[in-house]
């Protein structure tokens, strides 16, 4: 047994050293085909993740916490809620899956003590387990014990590499967003409370969606994580709403999906989990209300937030 432990320890040490070395070399090398699992050195978050997470770390006592993907930080205009006295924080990252939302909820719900949590849900985010949201969070957040939980839940080499590079201090100086501290990047403006405002419309970007995606089934990890998230909020006695944001008819055309079928799909996945609001039952926004095929622009976000306001008031009581 001693021989085994000794030789195994030697082998593992050798592997770890070689692994770290090759990760760092590939990280700095231009060989793209070797970078399947290594974050880009010129990594730049798409939605002010560093700014949002830094603000989240110092935010206490909110009325509404909105959790979800980029739909959460682009579709809910915090200023609309602010105008009636509700303090709202949108805590989302690009392509954020329920498994990541669950960890973020555990990290921030106790700190922010929201009276209501809005879970922005979308069937498309249940179909994949890609770690891009975890990498985005790891590279843009201050280190915490939750980093380990993110990696533990995700178990992807990409997330582990992001964590290692961050721990070695190799990524911090590369985060352009952190370095520049600008409020506006590529037409997106960061508004206090996590919201990202855009007033443009460009629906040609399909975000790498492919037509076959719609034939796929939700992954077990995401379905389990969604249940865990709901259980967690229930055990914390926090009121929550599941909301599906308005969808752009362009994305439905692209996916060969009719509106009723898309609404039914949302009902099937989310209605049984709690109070579910599908904005598409009441609203049908024109393409000019969208920033791209998925997200609302400033005008759309304002209208959508106004639509939600009475529902939020009903849930937490208006003052």
């Amino acid at each position: 047994m001693k021989k085994l432990v000794f030789r195994f320890a030697c082998f593992v040490s050798l592997f770890v050293a070689l692994y770290l070395l090759s990760t760092i070399v590939i990280y700095y090398s231009p060989l793209q085909f070797l970078k399947t699992n290594i974050p880009n050195r010129k990594y730049k978050s798409a939605g002010f993740t560093a700014r949002r997470l830094a603000e989240a770390d110092t935010t206490r006592q909110v009325d509404v916490l909105i959790l979800g993907s980029s739909l959460a930080y682009r579709n809910y205009d915090t200023r609309v809620f602010d105008s009636v006295g509700y303090k709202v924080f949108t805590l989302g990252t690009s392509s954020q899956k329920p498994s990541t939302t669950y960890i973020l909820a555990k990290r921030y719900v106790n700190q922010m003590k929201p009276r209501l949590v809005i879970l922005d849900v979308n069937p498309l985010l249940l179909l994949r387990d890609r770690p891009i949201d975890v990498v985005d969070i790891l590279l843009n957040s201050s280190s915490s014990i939750y980093d380990l939980e993110l990696i533990w839940r995700e178990t992807s080499v990409m997330s582990i590499n992001a964590f290692l590079l961050k721990s070695l201090g190799l990524t911090h100086s590369e985060i352009i967003e952190k370095k520049e501290q600008r409020n506006t990047i590529n037409g997106d403006e960061y508004i206090k409370g996590g919201y990202v405002f855009t007033d443009t419309t460009n629906i040609t970007n399909t975000f790498g969606l492919n037509k076959e995606l719609i034939a796929q089934k939700p992954t077990n990890l995401q379905m389990r994580s969604l249940s865990c998230l709901i259980d967690y909020l229930e055990t914390q006695n926090i009121n929550f709403l599941l909301v599906q944001s308005p969808f752009n008819s362009s994305v439905l055309d692209f996916l060969h999906l009719d509106r009723e079928k898309a609404i039914q799909m949302g009902e099937n996945y989310f209605a049984h989990l709690g109070h579910y609001v599908d904005a598409n039952n009441k609203l049908d926004f024109p393409k000019t209300s969208f920033r791209d095929v998925l997200h609302l622009n400033g005008k759309g976000a304002e209208q959508f937030s106004e639509f939600l306001l009475p529902i939020v008031k009903e849930q937490i009581g208006g003052e």
């Binding site: 047994m1 021989k3 085994l4 082998f11 050798l14 592997f15 070689l18 692994y19 090759s22 990760t23 590939i26 085909f33 070797l34 399947t36 699992n37 994949r128 387990d129 890609r130 770690p131 891009i132 990696i151 533990w152 178990t155 992807s156 080499v157 990409m158 492919n210 037509k211 076959e212 034939a215 796929q216 077990n220």
Partner: protein, 480 residues
């Protein structure tokens, strides 16, 4: 908890350390530890089904004792059939009830009746087909007097649910596994290291080949009507490699894990692509399932003087059941039937194939022309079956074949990945060199200096770290 996850690595390291730190005289403590570990492992999927597993275990344990102690043959038979009916009943309920409802409704609709029956919302307990067959094999062996019923519940329960084989086999038989569980094991350095090597190769096949094939296969099979004929053919071959590396990778990891704990599980794959004909190909694929059918259906039914027609009929029947065992789909049944046709055809022409077989018996370093022809035929036949196996219904299968024959032009297939093609070639090359061994890495590198051998293992691990896809895929056979 997948074998290829950090969770399993931590879980296994803890179990391994505790297991071998218990003195070998305390074999019972070790078995209790493995039993708890196995239930914990199973509970990670859905803890509620632990009760079903426990019930099935208790039923077969008690049935075994009642059969062994029964005073008459009638009573023995009665207890045997009670166990069979309850076990198969559970399997039918969880796995097949919706299939029968749907098929019945379809039949009535075809006959002109309009019927609306809702199917049941049933969650399939993972591994049920595997552990049910473990239990059944024990009861049958006790009934036929091939194995003495055990009075030790812990040992028996561990035989049913030993975690390396619980979710997707190999399907073990009591005479092979139970005596190993009962006996004490001394720590053997070489065995443990050998287990690690087999695990490493299984892991490589799963995370590098199977998981990299999966997204491409999904894209091709999800929308076959939008793909060219060449892409569809490429997709069928790719899925053949995916299902092989996924399942044989799982089996290697299961066998490796068990060997590290001193237990030898049954070999489940024997490099089927290098078989000399289709009959042998089928015999080298999922060996534990075909062995199960051979022992409990074919052998009791076929006597020395049985006619050839009867033999072929039972081959057909076994393949039919084997197809149905995989799941409640018509496509699986057709896979079984077509595989039976392939095997019978191969058996009929075996006389002429013998020459090729004789040539292939040589341990040649480079494959001969005969080998290459056989590999090509095996791959093609397996890919035809793969199309049926992967599509969820006959309509989609029809669409797939229709696409192959109507949109076949000389063009490069979509989604072709050169690195993946290289990795598949690398995997096949290594498997070729290790094809006669107990497992692929058993002897490869054994004569090399330590540094070179370690270098080879490190390269495998680094390849995994570099090319492992960002999304993990569950093992295909978990759904059966």
């Amino acid at each position: 908890m997948l074998f290829n996850s950090i969770h399993f690595l931590v879980f296994f390291l803890v179990i391994f350390m505790i297991y071998w730190s218990i003195p070998k005289e305390n074999g019972r403590c070790r078995n209790v530890l493995l039993l708890f570990a196995s239930y914990y492992f199973y509970a990670q999927w859905d803890w509620r089904f632990c009760f079903l597993l426990l019930f099935s275990t208790v039923l077969d344990f008690v049935s075994g004792l009642l059969i062994a102690n029964a005073s008459s043959k009638v009573r023995k038979k009665w207890w045997l059939w009670t166990s069979i009916c309850v076990n198969v009943g559970f399997l039918m309920y969880f796995k097949y009830v919706n299939f029968f409802i749907d098929s019945f409704v379809d039949l009535l609709t075809t006959l002109g009746f309009q019927v609306h029956v809702n199917t049941l919302n049933i969650v399939l307990p993972i591994g049920i087909s595997f552990y049910t067959f473990h239990g059944l094999s024990y009861v049958l062996d006790v009934y036929f007097g091939k194995f003495k019923a055990t009075g030790d519940f812990v040992n028996y329960a561990l035989f049913v649910c030993f975690f390396p084989m619980l979710l997707a086999g190999p399907i073990e038989r009591a005479p092979h596994l139970l005596p190993q569980i009962t006996s004490t094991h001394a720590f053997n350095y070489h065995k443990v290291v050998d287990g690690m090597r087999q695990f490493l190769w299984g892991l490589f096949k799963k995370v590098i080949i199977a998981d990299n094939c999966a997204p491409l296969v999904n894209r091709i099979f999800d929308m076959p009507e939008q793909q060219s004929g060449m892409t569809l053919i490429y997709g069928a071959f790719l899925f053949t490699f995916q299902v092989y590396t996924d399942f044989s990778g799982y089996s290697d990891m299961a066998l490796g894990t068990a060997r590290m704990l001193g237990i030898e599980l049954m070999k489940n794959f024997a490099t089927p692509f290098f078989a000399k004909d289709l009959a042998e190909f089928v015999g080298r694929w999922h060996i534990s399932l075909s062995t199960w059918f051979k022992y409990y259906i074919y052998k009791p039914a076929i006597k020395a003087n049985s006619s050839t027609a009867r033999k072929y009929f039972f081959v057909f029947l076994i393949f039919l059941i084997s197809g149905f065992w995989h799941g409640a789909r018509w496509t699986y049944i057709f896979v079984g039937l077509i595989a039976a046709c392939f095997v019978i055809l191969a058996l009929l022409i075996r006389g002429s194939a013998k020459k090729i077989m004789a040539r292939s018996e040589r341990k040649n370093f480079i494959p001969s022309i005969g080998n290459l022809v056989a590999i090509g035929l095996n791959l093609t036949a397996a890919s035809v079956l793969s199309i049926l196996f992967r599509n969820e219904n006959l309509y989609k299968t029809g669409l797939y074949f229709h696409g192959i024959f109507t949109r076949l032009h000389v063009q490069w297939p979509s989604y072709f990945s050169l690195p993946l093609a290289f990795l598949i070639f690398f995997m096949l090359t290594i498997e070729w060199f290790g094809r006669y061994d107990r497992h692929i890495l058993e002897k490869i590198g054994m004569g090399w200096p330590n540094s070179l051998r370690w270098g080879f293992y490190l390269i495998l691990l680094l390849l995994m770290a570099l090319f492992m896809p960002q999304e993990q895929e569950e093992f295909i056979y978990f759904q059966f």
